[in-house]
Subunit: 335 residues, 2 copies
DNA sequence: ATGAAAGCGCTAACAT
DNA sequence: ATGTTAGCGCTTTCAT
């Protein structure tokens, strides 16, 4: 038995045809004669041949992979998005390279690095903190912004964050809450800003007063939510409901205040954002805004594949629908 | 300005040297003269040259990436492991390809596929359900089993699962529990088996009786934990404590029983496994066995890089220490 | 419908 | 210390 891995040459020899014919049989079968095709296919089976994607990529000027740039791999929010992307990329013969913008150096620098390094045929950016200005790179691959992006007309897949925020506020107001707080994401992040702005606008629309001391800084993490919870506990006058820019923060916040004996939703109503898996299993189960993560990942990947195959740097922008999910963390205020 | 991306030829021309010298300057700088080196480097800067990794990989017979085979990308447990791998792989000029064994076809088949497809320079397998027998493939790349593996002497990074289980049982017994149940992972998974066996052995060592109806089938997911919780609620005679093969299941279980008015830890003590982030923020915070995920990812990647660079299919097996984390979900039984 | 041949961009002998 | 050269394995004109 041969230890060496079979190349297209081996197949060609066994099948008694040229390498060109083998290549054609594998990529555009319709163009070769039935009989030849059979011969090639059985030679492939016999030799155990698999195309060397590196060589193929070099020849076709492809990289064979797409990169997902995520702010924090450890956040479960992204794993499902990645799974969605993977489902689309694999059949398109594209691997999924995952890069965390947090690790190592300056995120913007890393962004630029991936753009220029030519490691991938395309990028999907999930980090709302990256500056789109960095995109001005000669010979860069197509990029999908999977974020509601400020700077304009880049192809994107996103969710209407402001709408999500207003759904939350509307629900709370409907239940009778007039004193509503908000925990934000990290500064300088588009997601943070659109959700905060949406929150403020919705409050105004509902005729509700905005109290600056009820807006807590967070960074999307559970720990930052817990910290906000501790600040809420110290407040002389507390909002009766809080809307969070992420479920993770809501989880941390709720844990912290429950620890201090506060009952949710009796003493405090909570609305999260994202609908990560765990929130349905909490006590109480969290009311939240669902982002369809698998779908976001899939659509981003689909758009990217189209751009790659068309060799285009431009593409559509798409808005994915969100859904309000009412569970047990909201009740009318005690008053 | 040139739109085309610069190749090594361009750099060579600008620097007035051969392509070989450019290549050397970039990979083994020590071997070229200071002056030449400077000339090359400034030509690189001027042209904006970056090596084409596809071409480099083809020539060097490398793929330029490693694959992590995970059972379920949507499980937060893995994201941190991947982050750890990424930290090691990137400096070794290796990309991280992520593949979910759940999606699509038969897991074992996908395993074989990745082994043979030659998409990567190496694999790290995190799925305890895969059969190591599939490894018998000519020309396969090095593989690290990041699981306590049954079939022997493959290089691996793992945790002593049986020991983890016995730490849990010992703690529970110490608190006075004599009736202890267990929720397992999916059937046919090594992790499931080593943790269940460890549990049974530890029970015997503590002189505690094992009740078959107190062993619940799960599959590591929160939903399966919730289902086990519902079964527990229906039991005529209930164990006063339950040890879980994963935190996710513990979370689902606790949610389900709390929903029915059961108080943890007063009515029921719970010990999880993994220490995923969220369990510290739950009410009550979960007592669990910590697996150092970042470290597991890093060591697996380090071992793999060594094997890749040595061109070896064999390597060491390493056991990573676990830690018992005592929080609030365990109390003495009410009796 | 098939084959011959020319590279894709790079690295590593080998030669100088 | 540097240059010359021969491919790595594949795809794709261009002929036939």
């Amino acid at each position: 038995m041969d230890k060496r891995i079979a190349t297209i040459q081996d197949v060609a020899r066994v099948a008694g045809v040229s390498t060109a014919t083998v290549s054609r049989t594998l990529s555009k079968p319709s163009v070769v004669a039935q009989s030849t095709r059979d011969a090639v296919l059985s030679a492939v089976a016999e030799t155990g041949y698999r195309v060397n994607s590196t060589a193929s990529n070099l020849r076709r000027q492809r990289k064979g992979s797409a990169i997902a740039l995520v702010p924090n791999l450890a956040n479960p929010f992204f794993s499902q998005i990645l799974a969605g992307m993977s489902a689309i990329l694999t059949p398109a013969r594209l691997g999924l390279l995952v890069a965390d913008t947090q690790t190592g150096t300056d995120p913007d620098e890393r962004f630029a690095h991936f753009l220029q390094s030519g490691q991938a045929d395309g990028l999907v950016v999930f980090d709302g903190s990256l500056s789109p200005t960095a995109l001005d790179v000669p010979g860069r691959p197509p990029v999908i912004m999977a974020c509601e992006w400020m700077a304009g007309d880049l192809p994107s897949v996103r969710v209407d964050n402001a709408l999500g925020a207003s759904m939350a506020v509307a629900h709370l107001a409907e239940q009778g809450h007039r004193n509503i707080g908000h925990v934000t994401g990290p500064r300088g992040n588009v997601l943070t800003e659109t959700r905060r702005d949406g929150f403020c606008r919705a409050m105004a629309e509902q005729g509700l007063a905005l109290r600056p001391e009820w807006i807590f800084d967070g960074d999307f993490s559970m720990d930052s939510g817990a910290a906000a919870g501790r600040r809420w506990l110290k407040l002389a006058s507390r909002p009766s409901a809080v809307f969070f820019a992420s479920d993770e923060m809501a989880v941390g916040f709720m844990g912290a205040v429950q620890h201090a004996g506060v009952r949710v939703p009796d003493d405090l109503s909570i609305v999260g954002f994202d609908n990560i898996d765990v929130v349905a299993h909490l006590t109480p189960a969290l009311t939240t805004i669902r982002q369809p993560r698998t779908i976001i990942g899939m659509r981003a990947a689909e758009l990217l594949v189209e751009m790659i195959e068309a060799g285009s740097l431009t593409g559509p922008s798409e808005v994915i629908e969100m859904e309000f999910i009412s569970r047990k963390s909201v009740a009318p205020p005690k008053d």
